[in-house]
Symmetry: C2
Subunit: 193 residues, 2 copies
Amino acid sequence: MKPIIQDIFRGLTFTDDELLQISGKLHKTSILRKEHLIEPGKDVNHFYYIHAGCLRTYFIDPAGKEHTLQFAIKGWWTSDYIALFGKGDTKSVAYIECIQDATLYKVAKSDFDELCREIPKVSRFHVQNLESAFAAFQRRILENLMLSAKERYIAFVQAYPNIEQSVKNYHIASYLGITTESLSRIRRNIALD
Amino acid sequence: MKPIIQDIFRGLTFTDDELLQISGKLHKTSILRKEHLIEPGKDVNHFYYIHAGCLRTYFIDPAGKEHTLQFAIKGWWTSDYIALFGKGDTKSVAYIECIQDATLYKVAKSDFDELCREIPKVSRFHVQNLESAFAAFQRRILENLMLSAKERYIAFVQAYPNIEQSVKNYHIASYLGITTESLSRIRRNIALD
DNA sequence: TTGATTTCTTACCCTACGTCAATTTTTACG
DNA sequence: CGTAAAAATTGACGTAGGGTAAGAAATCAA
């Protein structure tokens, strides 16, 4: 378990006692392509750390259209944060789908909060991550405001360089906020430079 | 100073000693309409708590167009979080403009981090706020993906019910990612229901 | 391998929103 | 106040991206 913990909390070093505390709260799971980790209406109480594989978080709007909020790859965390961090109840409103066979380590939010209280450096680690995420979200919102669909696609490919293999075209389109057809046109347009 | 601290950290109660620690790090400022709190290139080291008034954070893209990232009103914090929380240096890339005469309380990020270390409940308060913001950002990204300009405008008016007086129409347009002209047409369209 | 299913591309037309320019309305200020 | 400046509206027209439908290509399953 130790190597995984050090993988998860990169940059931190723990005493044997702390390692024990943490590993008691960390549970290995795996999930296969096309299976769903989370679906609307289900209770959400965990964070999931991705040790291998790839998942995507998406929503379905009243018109039945999918909207991809994020892809999560090796080394990232995922969950339905709207349910987990939001004020309301903890019922999910999102789908989290496995798009490449994955190995996950899950921690209950309540267990994680406990770890934060018991081990201050875990708390600081969490704050640090939340702050980075905060900046990253602002950048994404700006990117959506400032860039055209073509520019956003180019930015996406740069941000997730090796994801294109595992991800369907329509996943990317729904992440960028356009249709597959438009994405197809954009790709052709880029190709003939 | 005590009433302001209790206003800022709603829900927490502090000992006299803690109040002293906090008030030593909190500095009152005020700013007038049309002045800028932050401009690109300036160093950003503080959070600003808004006790009264209204500010907006915006960016100017290479084409010279403004994009409003957020409005900050009484009871909110503001800063250039991309600079303050991002990995890179602390030079601002944003403008923060006062759009209604404001009274602010500022804290240096380094002082705030110190408070978090010294007073655990402040740290928990911060984590709680970051987590809510995290969920809120996801909701905003989704809203941008799912809703039409008209629907986003309606959502905006509901989210900031009494802001319309102080905010220019083109501020709202640049927040919604549309032009003033489009916003004008949307408003007319809504009027004749 | 081959047929079936899923995904991607292309073509056609349509719509929401952008651009430009003129006009009216509102706000600021001497 | 009245005038200038700023903001909002309107109209004519352009364009990015959407909707639909059909075919091509890739992937899967047996």
